[in-house]
Amino acid sequence: MSESILNVKNLQVEFKSGSIITRAVNGVSFALNKNENIGIVGESGSGKSVTATSILRLIPSSSAKITGGEIILNGRDLLKLSNREMRKVRGNEISMIFQDPSTSLNPVFTVGNQLIETIRAHKKLTKKEAKQRAIELLELVGIPAPEKRINMYPHEFSGGMRQRVMIAIALACDPKILIADEPTTALDVTVQAQILNLMKDLQEKLDMSIIMITHDLGVVWEMCDQILVMYAGRVVESAKVEDLYHNPLHPYTWGLLESQITESQDSHAPLASIPGSPPDLSYEIKGCPFVDRCPYAQDICHNEAPKLIEPTEGHAVACHFQTETEKLERRENAYINGDTIRS
C-alpha cells in the first residue's frame, strides 16, 4: 500500500442562486497516493471541476459554499485553515493549471514577470535570483531560448507554449500535488501529445502526484493510475484504470466506455450513446441520479439512492445491483437504441 498524501472525505459543495440551491458536489471521497495520478472523469456539469477547485478553496465565496466534508493534507484539514494559512498551501504544496491557457495568463505582464511574481510570493529570493529561477523553470518545461522568451508577452506564445508557461508557474515552488483541470482540451492533437509527455516527464523528475480532470478517457488511460467517474455531483465508480477498463461495474461507466469511438468501430453500425441528459441538481434526487438514463433501472433505483460499496478490493461502485452476490449482466447493444430524445 502506498501512503496517501491527500484525503478528500465526503465533500459537499452547494451553489446558491436566489432561492435555488444546487448541490454541485454531493459526498465525494477519494485518496491521492504519493507519486500516483488520479483522473476525474464525467460529463459537463458532473461536478469534477468544482471538486478540484474546492480542494484549493478557490470556488467563488459569494455564490458557492463548501457545506461539509474534510480535505486532509499532511494531517491538516484544509477546510479549517485561515485564509492566510491557505495562501501558503496554494502554489506551494498544491498547484493548479487550467483549461484555457490563453485566458489564464495576464496579457499586460511579461511571462517573466508572472513567473517571478509567483516565485517571490512564496520564497525569499532577490529579484535577480527569482529571475534565474524563472529561466530554469522555462527551460524545464521545454521552452527554447528561455533568456529571450522571459521578456515576451503571452500573446507572443502559441497555445501549447502558453500551457507550458502555465505549467512552469504551477511548478515554481515544487508542489507535491498538481491539479490539472482539462489541461489539453483547448490544444491541438499533436500539441496535446507533447504536453502530456511533458507532464509525465516532470512528474518523474519532481516526484509529484497529479489530479487530472478531463472528459477525455484517452487522456486518463495514458496518464493516470486511479480513475474516479463522477455523475451528478457524486462518485459513481472508482478503481484502478486497468480494472475499470476491463471490468467496469456501473451502467453509466459502461455507457461512457461504449460511446467512445475506437478504431474497431464498424462504420455501418450505429454508435452507442447514453440517451437523455443529466438530472437538474437543484432538485432533491431521491433515488439513483442515473435512473432516467439507465437501461437497467428497476423500482428500487427510483426510490433509494445506492451507496458507494466495494464489491472487490479497491474497486468501488454506487449501484444497487453490483453487489458481491448479485451482478448485472452487461447486455450487448444496451446503449444502441433509437435516436429520439425523451421529452
Partner: protein, 326 residues
C-alpha cells in the same frame, strides 16, 4: 457510400489571403495571411468528405469559401456545373439553398431571442418558400425528423442542452432540402455520450435524404466513422487526400503519419508508439519556405526547404504532397 461517382462540387486552386494591417499607422502593408493557399478537390454525390487538420490550418475558412460566405482571392468553386465565384448575388442566393451549414458552437449559432420555430423557419422565410401556415407544419415535421418533440417550436434555445441545440441547428440546415451540408466541427463542443447521438442522427439523415456532407473535424475517430474520403490539411494546403482505407492503412505524408499515430487503440493499454512532432503549427503570415511542414518533419531533406512538393497520385484516388512520395 457514394452510389455514383457524380461530381457535386469541384474546388480548383482555391485561395484566400487575408490582408494584414501594418503596425505603422497609415502605412500600407503588403503582408497577408494565406489562410487557404491553392486547394483542389472534388466532392461526389452522396459521399462524406472529411477535412482534418490542426487549428489555424484553414479548415473553417475553406468551408466558408465553398458557400461564398467569404469571397475567395482566387480559384473556382463549381457546384453542379455552375461556378459560384462568378455568380451574381441573386443567382448565388438561389443556388445556396442547396448548400447549408452546421456550425460548431450550438450556443452561439442560435439567436437567443428567437423561438426554435422561428429559427427553423428563417431559411423558409428568407427564400419565400411556402405560406405562413404550411411553414409551421414544415417546422414541426423537421423537429420530428431530428428526433425532437414538435412542441419545442414554441420554446427558446436557452431551454435546451447542447445536444438538443445541435439538433435544432441540423433541422434548420435541412429546412430547404439541401444537397450538400457543410458540418464545421458539429460535435466538438458536445460530451461523448451526446456526441454519439448527434453523429448517429447525421448518418441516418444522410441515408434518408441522400445528403452529401463535408465534415470538418479534428477528431480522427469521428472522421473515420463518418467519412468515405478524407482530406488532411496543413497550413492552408491539402497535404493528403484519399479514401479512409487508403489513408489509414497506408499514410504517405509524414504529417498524416504523425496525426494517425495518435489515434487511441481499441485497448488503450497496448498503445502503439506515437510519433510526437516538434514545435507547433507555424504562422501562416510567414510560412516556412518550400514544404510548409519541413520544420516539424522528422524526415525532412534539403529539397524540402527549397521546393514545395506537388500533389502526386499514388493509388486510384490517393494523393499526397511530399517529396518522398513517388
Amino acid at each position: 457510400m457514394p452510389t455514383s461517382m457524380e461530381t457535386l462540387l469541384e474546388v480548383k486552386n482555391l485561395k484566400k489571403h487575408f490582408p494584414v494591417s501594418s503596425s505603422i499607422p497609415f502605412k500600407k502593408s503588403n503582408q497577408s495571411v494565406k489562410a487557404v493557399d491553392g486547394v483542389n478537390f472534388n466532392v461526389y454525390s452522396g459521399e462524406t468528405l472529411g477535412v482534418v487538420g490542426e487549428s489555424g490550418c484553414g479548415k473553417s475558412t475553406m468551408a466558408r469559401l465553398i458557400n461564398q460566405l467569404i469571397k475567395p482571392t482566387d480559384g473556382v468553386v463549381t457546384f453542379k456545373n455552375k461556378n459560384l465565384v462568378e455568380m451574381d448575388a441573386e443567382m448565388l442566393r438561389s443556388t445556396r439553398k442547396k448548400i447549408q451549414m452546421v456550425f460548431q458552437d450550438p450556443y452561439a449559432s442560435l439567436d437567443p431571442r428567437l423561438k426554435v420555430g422561428q429559427l427553423i423557419a428563417e431559411p423558409l422565410v428568407i427564400h419565400k418558400v411556402e405560406t405562413k401556415e404550411s411553414r409551421r407544419k414544415r417546422v414541426e415535421e423537421l423537429l420530428e425528423i431530428v428526433g425532437l418533440n414538435k412542441r419545442f417550436a414554441d420554446r427558446y434555445p436557452h431551454e435546451f442542452s447542447g445536444g438538443q441545440r445541435q439538433r435544432i441547428n441540423i433541422a434548420r440546415a435541412l429546412a430547404l432540402n439541401p444537397e450538400l451540408i457543410i458540418c464545421d466541427e458539429p460535435v466538438s463542443a458536445l460530451d461523448v455520450s451526446v456526441q454519439a447521438q448527434v453523429i448517429n442522427l447525421l448518418k441516418q439523415l444522410q441515408d434518408q435524404f441522400q445528403l452529401t456532407y463535408i465534415f470538418i473535424s479534428h477528431d480522427l475517430n469521428v472522421v473515420r466513422y463518418m467519412c468515405d474520403r478524407i482530406a488532411v490539411m496543413y497550413l492552408g494546403k491539402i497535404v493528403e487526400i484519399g479514401t479512409y482505407e487508403e489513408i489509414y492503412s497506408n499514410p504517405q505524408h509524414p504529417y498524416t503519419k504523425a496525426l494517425f499515430s495518435a489515434i487511441p487503440k481499441k485497448n488503450p493499454f497496448e498503445q502503439k508508439e506515437r510519433i510526437i512532432l516538434k514545435g507547433t503549427v507555424p504562422s501562416p503570415l510567414n510560412p516556412p519556405s518550400g514544404c510548409h511542414f519541413h520544420e516539424r518533419c522528422p524526415v525532412a531533406m534539403d529539397i524540402c526547404k527549397a521546393k514545395a512538393p506537388k500533389a502526386i497520385t499514388t493509388e486510384n484516388t490517393h494523393q499526397a504532397s511530399c517529396h518522398l512520395v513517388h
